[in-house]
């Protein structure tokens, strides 16, 4: 392995290994830096452009305003949950494997809560999402429990409770008012959810960059031991990061419930995996400490567009899972190649 004479470059591309061997280390260094920059920052956008072009040329109905609106609606749902996933990922706790269940459970609760009026229903639903996921975060933070297993277990528990309460039936909105439908109608030509999505994205991004709490999340994700040594409370930060993810998921639950005008566990769909795929494909490091919400925004748009294109071409569950699985696998490997050699 050729060593840089100066301080090591911030990142080194594994792809550039071959170039390095052929061109020698100095030339390779520049190429490597450029390659890894491309890999992380430009690849999602290039991929998005490619998909749009392919969709436009090959698929009827892809390049229509109606379809763009459908994609935007999906971006809102997947994206808001993906922002939650991103915060968990940045804090060094990998990801939750049950945010989709929580979104469905909160959507069910939203239907019940509408009996107390729209505003109360939104606040209570978001609060419920926050509580459910924050509890998992507390387990992870305080006891060092494994986040994946905790979230799988919590998902099973939520499914059980939801089946118990609903009897496995689809829940219709309670209460006489149908004011909630305002959340499902387009506003200014685009789905209302998209405003929430960008609102949440800006708020969480600012929080991550500008507040002490945000920096603490990055530090915890980058180096848990250092965070501990700096006398930061791992429990508090982890719980808060999960709580934020729960807040996002609860909000997604409200929007998903309002859009489908009923609540059932079927609403879970593939949101959990879509959100993880979106956070990863945007270029956030799965092991934490590196990434941003803006990357996730790009990732969410990419994943929602891919899902939409597959759906338009008549590919069902199977191909959707297959494609997302491959995306997760390939992105994790590529990101690791890119990071691995800088260490």
């Amino acid at each position: 392995m050729a060593q840089a004479p100066a301080p090591a470059p911030p990142a080194a591309g594994g792809l550039a290994l071959v170039i390095e061997r052929t061109l020698g280390s100095r030339a390779a260094l520049a190429t490597r830096e450029r390659l890894s920059w491309l890999l992380v920052n430009a690849l999602p956008i290039v991929a998005f452009a490619a998909i749009v072009v392919v969709g436009w040329l090959t698929t009827d109905g892809f390049a229509t305003w109606a379809n763009v609106k459908a994609i935007l609606a999906a971006v809102a749902f997947v994206g808001i949950i993906a922002i939650g996933t991103t915060v968990i990922m940045l804090s060094g706790n990998l990801f939750s494997l049950s945010l989709g269940v929580t979104a469905a459970v909160t959507a069910i609760f939203f239907m019940y809560a509408l009996a107390w009026g729209l505003f109360a229903a939104i606040v209570l639903t978001v609060g419920l999402g926050l509580l459910i996921v924050a509890l998992q975060g507390a387990m992870v933070g305080a006891w060092g429990a494994n986040p994946i297993i905790v979230t799988i277990g919590a998902g099973g528990l939520q499914t059980g409770v939801a089946l118990w309460v609903t009897g496995g039936e689809s829940i219709l909105p309670r209460g006489s008012s149908d004011a909630y439908q305002a959340l499902a109608r387009p506003l200014g030509g685009v789905p209302v959810g998209i405003y929430f999505f960008f609102g949440v994205a800006v708020a969480v991004e600012l929080m991550l960059r500008r507040t002490r709490f945000g920096r603490e999340i990055y530090l915890l994700g980058e180096n848990r031991a250092a965070a501990r040594a700096a006398a930061l409370s791992v429990t508090r930060i982890t719980t808060a990061a999960f709580a934020l993810a729960g807040l996002c998921t609860g909000l997604a639950g409200v929007l998903i419930g309002a859009a489908s005008a009923n609540g059932s566990l079927l609403l879970e769909g593939q949101y959990t995996y879509d959100a993880i795929a979106a956070a990863l494909v945007g270029g956030n490091a799965v092991t934490g400490g590196r990434g941003s919400v803006s990357r996730t925004v790009v990732g969410a748009i990419l994943i929602a567009t891919i899902s939409d294109l597959l759906l338009l071409r008549g590919y069902s569950t199977g191909i959707q899972l297959l494609v997302k699985g491959l995306i997760v696998f390939v992105v994790v490997v590529l990101m690791n190649l890119e990071r691995g050699r800088s260490r």
Partner: protein
């Protein structure tokens, strides 16, 4: 004193003892409940219930063993849950004329998947959870694609009847095959150098590498074995049912396997656990599910209990639980003993 205890300071040893005996304790409680249930209530427990428990052992037990082996090696293979459904699907698709062919094809695919994932995890040193999440989704996707998300019928009914026919009332070929695989795994893990190497790789990878353990080869090997052992129960159940559906795997199988493995005393940090413990964990969980069947509980009860149990065991094996316990001042048995009570010098007795 078990392996975990030796590695931990005296203050947290009671915790480690608890984890060490947990599998056998829960199994004992399960068996007691099963035996005593007819005595104290009007519910009947027959040899068929025992047969049923062992049948379950023959399916989800092997999925758990696959997951458990990767956990002992310090990794976590989420993809076993969907390799299970894909294995059965492939066997049913390719084994219509000759079941043995389907069996071999399915197991080879399992080995191949293990090779790819194990190769990536070991050579690139990536955390296995995100890698195998990709594998989990991809394999689940493939089994949906090749079945078109529908149930696929298997025309060879004889093989299913043979696999399921009761032997000595409580066994069947299915459960005997599973028990054989467990016996083999238990032997390899306890009495061969390979077993020690796997444990070493899981316990302290750097030390293992320094000591000359071929870490990468061991890791790849474990993933390959996990792929094969996860594909096997898929073949068994789908031959039994004469049909394959893509839905048998997925998150539910994952919840069962994770719960059973942790109940079975497999540590999440690697190096801890044994196939015998895993077997005890699976039997406990299978007994619990059989009890729910006997008591005719609604479906959601099973979800609630498995989900809750998984959270509970995750909590009990969480690495910082003891520390947290002391910080919040509820010390009890976990509190560090007063220094005077400790021997002045030298290793603690039993070290």
């Amino acid at each position: 004193m078990n392996a975990l205890q030796r590695r931990l300071p005296a203050a947290v040893r009671p915790h480690a003892t608890f984890i060490g005996v947990m599998p056998y304790l829960t199994l004992l409680v399960g068996i007691l409940v099963l035996v005593l249930l007819p005595v104290f209530s009007s519910y009947e427990v027959t040899s068929f219930n025992v047969y049923d428990i062992l049948q379950n052992f023959g399916v989800l037990g092997l999925v758990t063993l696959a997951l458990g082996l990767t956990m002992i090696a310090g990794e976590f293979d989420l993809s076993v849950a969907s390799m299970y459904s894909l294995g059965g699907m492939i066997a049913v698709k390719t084994g219509a004329a000759e079941p043995a062919v389907g069996f071999l094809v399915a197991l080879s695919v399992g080995a191949f998947v293990g090779l790819v994932q194990g190769g990536v995890v070991s050579k690139l040193r990536i955390n296995s959870m995100p890698v195998t999440l990709g594998g989990f989704l991809t394999l689940l996707g493939i089994s949906h694609v090749i079945s078109n998300s529908k149930s696929v019928a298997f025309s060879n009914y004889d093989i299913g009847a043979t696999l399921d026919a009761p032997i000595a009332e409580i066994f069947s070929w299915r459960s005997i095959i599973a028990l054989g695989v467990f016996a083999l795994a238990a032997f390899a893990m306890s009495f061969t150098r390979l077993g020690r190497d796997v444990r070493a790789v899981g316990g302290d990878r750097r030390a293992a590498r320094t000591a000359g353990v071929p870490v990468d080869r061991i890791l790849i090997g474990v993933f390959v074995v996990a792929g094969v052992v996860a594909a096997l129960p898929g073949v068994l159940i789908d031959y039994s049912l004469s049909a394959a559906t893509p839905d048998i795997g997925g998150v539910d199988a994952l919840i069962f396997a994770a719960t059973a493995a942790l109940l079975g005393g497999v540590g999440l940090s690697g190096g801890i656990g044994s196939p015998v413990g895993i077997a005890a964990g699976i039997l406990s969980l299978s007994i619990l599910q059989e009890l729910l069947v006997i008591l005719a509980s609604p479906d959601y009860v099973s979800d609630l209990i498995t989900g809750g149990l998984l959270l509970f065991v995750t909590m009990t094996v969480a690495p910082e639980l003891g520390q947290w316990w002391r910080t919040v001042g509820l010390g009890g048995g976990f509190r560090r003993p007063i220094p005077v009570a400790e021997p002045a010098a030298g290793p603690a007795p039993g070290d």
